[in-house]
């Protein structure tokens, strides 16, 4: 894939460029601030832009605003947002538009190289990827009366994986259960959350997260 990388830390940028190039991707531009990112996206039309939330000049949410701008101006460009902290507010703001080709991950996830590259592929293919931490945080703030509070621990786990954009087969593999068991859990989740069944996993993620973010 052709990628653009935006992060103000040179150290991080260099490391990630190496990592991505070793994985066979082409990093067409690596920039350190939001205006540079927007210009580079316009110039190179990458498959995916990997963006740090915090960038100069303000060091507060510049990357997120730039990401939203990219999604509006160039819906064909995937955006993978990296953040030092997981903020559910950021997640819901990103989800305000179309969910295709969108990712939001904790920055540390790049160290889990294999999974990070998979997530990147999914975003590049138009999928949606959310950090399991986002789901965990949302679950943590639910109450008993909340439908989310009625999820079993196993179902919560499945929900985390759903949010990461994984298909049932992949979830089954990771949780070491059968695929039919996963299907059962997914249906239970949808039932408990009162969601109609919709085909396509990015839509599942969207549905779940929209509900959670509301």
């Amino acid at each position: 894939m052709r990628l653009i990388l935006a992060d103000d830390s040179v150290l991080f940028r260099e490391g990630l460029v190496r990592l991505l190039e070793e994985a066979g991707h082409a990093v067409v531009a690596a920039v350190g601030d939001a205006p540079g990112l927007l210009a580079a996206v316009d110039e190179h039309r990458p498959d995916v832009a990997i963006v740090d939330v915090r960038m100069p000049p303000g060091q507060a949410g510049e990357g997120l605003r730039a990401s939203l701008a990219i999604r509006e101006r160039r819906p064909d460009v995937g955006v993978l947002v990296l953040s030092q902290y997981v903020e559910t507010t950021y997640a819901s703001r990103l989800l305000a538009g179309a969910p295709e080709g969108l990712g939001y991950l904790l920055k540390d996830r790049v160290t889990e190289v294999g999974e990070f590259l998979e997530s990147l592929e999914r975003v590049g293919a138009g999928g949606t990827v959310f950090d399991p931490e986002v789901v965990r945080r949302l679950l943590a703030r639910t109450t008993r009366s909340d439908p989310l509070g009625r999820l079993t621990p196993r179902e919560a786990q499945v929900l985390e994986h759903l949010a990461q954009g994984l298909v049932n087969a992949a979830i089954a593999e990771r949780l070491h259960v059968s695929q039919s068991a996963v299907e059962k859990h997914v249906n239970a989740i949808f039932d408990k959350l009162g969601l109609a069944r919709v085909p396509g996993y990015s839509r599942r993620v969207l549905a779940v997260l929209r509900y959670l973010g509301a």
Binding site: F12, L19, E22, D108, T111, V113, G114
Partner: protein, 480 residues
């Protein structure tokens, strides 16, 4: 090993090799090479200051700005007193001016009184007379304030309009008489002295017979005139000094803050410095977060990425190289973590005291730093910490922004305050409102200290923090 600086005698020589030969402190004697004082932009901030600082670093002309000069603060006469002769001359000039203004004031009060009486029957006339009188009184009071400030080294606060008349009436009568007497004594004394000395020198003296009951004396006119003149001058000097004191007291009585006023000011000051310190704490936390985010966390992620790539790699040689890099990165991460922790708070400071902690700062400064440690004993903890951070920040600024070649740090004390002065030979133009400096300022002000940044474009930069040794007493302490 614990070294108590309290046990160390006063020493003027720079910190360094003599005390800790094993420490590679880069210390040079920068004293002679540091540029002389003065001539630059001065920005003094008192705790009471609410005035915005307006001196931009780009302002070319040297300019002195003293914010927060309030009624309660009388600048020490020594600050501008100069030589005794010059001071005496200024006092005499002030008395002479006072004699003149007194006459003017008497005239004004007379005219105002007559106007009041004459225009009393008509409301419009009364109002006009009132306006005239108020405007005149305000002007005369301002004139008196200027006179007191210029010649008697006495800054009074703005006088409330209502007390202006009382002050003028008292000052115009008593002040005028006293000034006239002092000046007359001075004039006569000088005349006698001049006559006596002249007749002594020229030899043109004659004998003066003095006859009192039981006393029959014949005195030479030369010594008599001289003695008479000297006596009169001494009396005039005493009387003049008393007049000056009286004038100052009178002005302070009418203009000076009452206890309520002093209390109100102190509360204002405490409110301001309290919110200042809260902001300083927040700023510091922000800095720590940024330190962690930009340094430690990035290195941690970089380290993780190296290990992740190593785990992912197929070629054993490449994997080995990545592990080597990861190891080096882990060392850097630990260095970074240590330095962040040190920036948050140096454990040395509590354990070893200011002297050792500042030696540590000097070692890490990256440019030659001379510390002249003139404190006989360790200040109390909060003062010590404030001094430490002021010095460290000033050195960091000198190295980072001012492009300085060397830094001189002088710590001194008297019975009331501890002063830290840091001077570098860099290019100046430091912004006192900038992040680091304003945080320090807030910290210093919260301890009732003063913080001064003098940094004209082109340098040099001098930062001075003065911190009281003891906690300030009640409101009375602020109004001298």
């Amino acid at each position: 090993m614990i070294v108590h600086t309290a046990a160390l005698p006063f020493r003027a020589d720079p910190l360094g090799a003599a005390e800790s030969p094993s420490c590679p402190v880069s210390v040079v004697n920068a004293v002679s090479r540091c540029p002389p004082e003065g001539g630059g932009k001065v920005n003094t901030i008192h705790p009471m200051s609410t005035t915005p600082r307006t001196n931009a670093p780009s302002r070319p002309a040297p300019r002195s700005l003293r914010a927060g000069a309030t009624a309660a603060r009388t600048r020490a006469p020594a600050a501008r007193g100069g030589a005794p002769v010059a001071r005496a001359a200024r006092r005499v000039a002030g008395l002479a001016a006072g004699a003149v203004t007194g006459v003017v004031e008497l005239g004004f009060l007379g005219v105002a009184g007559v106007l009041f009486v004459a225009l009393a029957p008509w409301p419009a006339g009364r109002r006009a007379a009132r306006r005239f009188a108020d405007a005149g009184a305000a002007r005369l009071v301002a004139l008196e304030r200027a006179r007191l400030a210029a010649w008697f080294d006495h800054d009074t606060g703005r006088m409330p309009a209502t007390s202006g008349y009382g002050y003028l009436a008292l000052r115009a009568t008593a002040g005028t008489v006293a000034s006239q007497l002092a000046l007359t004594g001075l004039f006569l004394g000088l005349l006698f002295l001049a006559g006596g000395v002249e007749s002594l020198l020229s030899g043109g003296s004659y004998l003066v017979p003095l006859r009192y009951p039981g006393v029959h004396l014949t005195v030479d006119s030369g010594p008599l005139g001289t003695a008479y003149g000297l006596g009169l001058l001494a009396l005039a000097a005493l009387w003049g000094a008393a007049t000056v004191t009286g004038e100052r007291r009178l002005a302070a009585y009418f203009a000076g803050p009452g206890e309520r006023e002093a209390m109100r000011r102190r509360i204002e000051e405490l409110t301001a410095t309290r919110s200042g310190i809260v902001r300083a704490v927040d700023d510091e936390r922000r800095r720590i977060e940024r330190d962690l985010h930009d340094g430690v966390q990035q290195r941690g992620v970089a380290l993780g990425m190296l290990l992740g790539r190593a785990r992912h790699g197929a070629d054993p040689a490449a994997v080995a190289a990545l592990v080597d890099q990861a190891y080096a990165e882990s060392r850097r991460l630990l260095d970074e973590l240590r330095s962040v922790a040190w920036r948050v708070y140096p454990a040395d400071l509590d354990e070893l005291g200011l002297r050792a902690a500042l030696a540590g700062v000097a070692e890490r400064a990256g440019l030659p730093v001379t510390v002249r440690h003139g404190l006989a004993e360790r200040p109390v903890s909060e003062i010590e910490t404030a001094v430490y951070f002021v010095v460290r920040e000033a050195i960091a600024n000198a190295a980072k922004h001012a492009d300085a070649r060397e830094v001189l740090v002088v710590l001194s004390e008297d019975e009331r305050a501890v002063t830290a002065r840091i001077r570098d030979d860099g290019r100046g133009g430091a912004d006192p409102a900038g992040g680091g400096l304003s945080g320090l300022e807030r910290r210093v002000l919260a301890l009732d200290g003063t913080f001064e940044v003098e940094s004209p474009p082109g340098g040099p930069t001098t930062i001075t923090a003065t911190l009281p040794r003891a906690v300030r007493e009640g409101p009375g302490a602020s109004c001298a």
